[in-house]
């Protein structure tokens, strides 16, 4: 497992978490290169299909991250995201996608450190868990 490099797909909101990622960069905080950021305007835009597609395509983990509840730039997008993620957490682990592979986080615009720490934590966790089954088995 030591040369396994996990791939994490992160759907992040423009106003908070993407800005936090930018801040991590400008602050020269090192964090693993395993994350692929997908910038959306709001976590409320994250269709459950994006998470499902990412996992079926072989992503080892999916992070959805946005503004803290109450701070959403569009008022209630993250509340909707929370309900949709609750749904996904009920469905996907039953088919073998370990719960740890699905992460919902609230990382605000000034939380560059927290962003870097979250990515680091997830990458390490995925190295432990190993490659997703979708990478190893045929998906129809």
């Amino acid at each position: 497992m030591t040369d396994f490099e996990p791939t994490i797909i992160a759907f992040v909101c423009n106003w908070c978490t993407y800005t936090a990622a930018d801040l991590a960069g400008t602050s020269r905080l090192a964090y693993p290169h395993n994350v692929r950021l997908v910038r959306l305007m709001c976590t409320g835009m994250v269709d459950p299909k994006y998470v499902i597609k990412a996992l079926l395509s072989g992503a080892d983990a999916v992070l959805v991250s946005g503004c803290r509840p109450g701070d959403c730039h569009y008022i209630n997008g993250n509340f909707k995201a929370r309900r949709r993620f609750k749904l996904l957490k009920e469905i996907l682990p039953r088919f073998g996608f370990e719960a740890a592979r699905l992460r919902l986080a609230w990382i605000g615009a000034s939380d560059g450190h927290e962003f870097a720490a979250t990515i680091k934590e997830m990458t390490e966790k995925m190295r432990e868990l190993g490659p997703s089954e979708a990478r190893r088995k045929m998906v129809i």
Partner: protein, 379 residues
């Protein structure tokens, strides 16, 4: 305690009695039409028909073991705008639950529909019904009733009720306006008629029936039936959970799927006017297929089979009423109902929701609260 009445069944001819009862309701001034399962004139098959004249109820047979489609969709078509009068619909409990879900999605109106429900004995899958109807014609219903209310568990000539019906632990028409009770009632106590809503009570009051309480045997008969069905349901949940507990197993479970989307078409609560799977989101470029094939070695065609089912689970499992039309409709005999019911039980429980239980309960993904589900963001 809903008002209840006893319907006498002269000569134990349940079919004729029900037809008279329905005719009396259709004869009421405010009832413009009735949707009811009936034998078609041109062939020995049962389909929902819409009639305005009580004479049209001649071949009505709501107890026939036929369930070709979930009539909630039809009720939705009949009430999405005012039809110029009340429509009465004879619906199975799962059809009533599905209609409730559609009303919540503004695809039907409960005010414009009078729902007549019966204790449900289940039905055969389409192929089974065709076979049984060919053998027994219109006498099938009596044979089915004898088996279902006796010890035959509804089987006729070895044809069993559909899997969805066998595990259905909700056989009472709780959401109906007028509910007809058979379990623990028929044949000794005739048929029990309950007005479960104000409108239902008002209608029953005008039919000249004898007031009567539910027979003593009813409660225990219903409890025993529900207990037995719940056990079968839980066994089905356990089997299905085990059969799909990894991606590899899920893939094997769905390997016969050809993305015909008939399960989606038959599903009464798959509510989108245009399903994303028929849009150009899934109209992949030929180059894309080749790229996938290069990357993965082998690509089953068409693609997106597991994706489709997972998406449908995400989109409608909270509305699933367990009618089993998905399995009924599958041309390749995939156990779709088992998969969806098993997941639906979990997703609905996660939101403390039961599809079709109440018009007052908003669909879980259409509402949210400021503080909820803290466990979702726990690392």
């Amino acid at each position: 305690m809903p008002q209840s009445y006893k319907i006498e069944v002269p000569g134990a001819d349940l079919g004729a009695t029900l037809k008279n009862f329905l005719g009396a309701i259709l004869g009421l001034e405010e009832v413009a039409a009735m949707l009811v399962p009936a034998w078609l004139p041109m062939k020995d098959t049962v389909m929902p028909v819409l009639v305005t004249d009580p004479a049209g109820l001649e071949t009505a047979d709501p107890l026939a073991p036929a369930f070709p489609l979930n009539a909630a969709r039809l009720a939705s078509r009949l009430t999405r705008k005012p039809a110029g009068g009340l429509v009465a619909a004879v619906l199975r409990p799962c059809e009533i639950r599905a209609f409730v879900e559609l009303v919540k999605l503004k695809q039907g109106s409960a005010d414009d529909l009078v729902i007549i429900g019966l204790d449900c004995l289940g039905a055969f899958p389409n192929t089974g019904f065709t076979q049984a109807a060919q053998a027994h014609g219109r006498g099938l219903t009596d044979k089915f009733l004898a088996s279902a209310l006796g010890s035959g568990e509804g089987a006729v000539d070895g044809i069993e009720p559909a899997a969805a019906c066998r595990v259905c632990e909700r056989p009472l028409p709780l959401g109906a306006d007028v509910a007809l009770g058979l379990f623990g009632v028929w044949p000794e106590g005739g048929v029990l008629a309950e007005g479960r809503t104000e409108r239902g009570a008002e209608i029953l009051g005008r039919l000249g029936l004898a007031r009567a309480g539910a027979p003593a045997a009813r409660t225990s008969a219903v409890e025993a039936l529900v207990r037995a069905k719940t056990k079968l349901r839980d066994e089905m949940f356990a089997r299905t959970t085990e059969a799909t507990s990894s991606l590899e197993k899920l893939t094997a479970y769905l390997a016969g799927c050809v993305n015909c989307y008939n399960c989606r078409n038959a599903c009464p609560v798959c509510y989108c006017r245009e399903c994303v799977f028929t849009t150009d989101v899934f109209d992949h470029e030929p180059r894309q297929y080749l790229q996938w094939a290069r990357r993965q070695g082998t690509v089953k065609m068409p693609t997106d089979t597991v994706f489709y089912h997972l998406t449908r689970l995400a989109h409608m499992s909270t509305a699933c009423v367990g009618c089993g039309q998905c399995s009924n409709a599958c041309p390749n005999g995939l156990p779709v109902m088992e998969l969806f019911r098993t997941l639906a039980a979990r997703t609905q429980a996660a939101f403390d929701y039961e599809a079709g239980r109440s018009l007052e309960e908003a669909p879980p993904l259409s509402v949210f609260r400021e503080d909820e589900f803290p466990e979702v963001t726990a690392p």
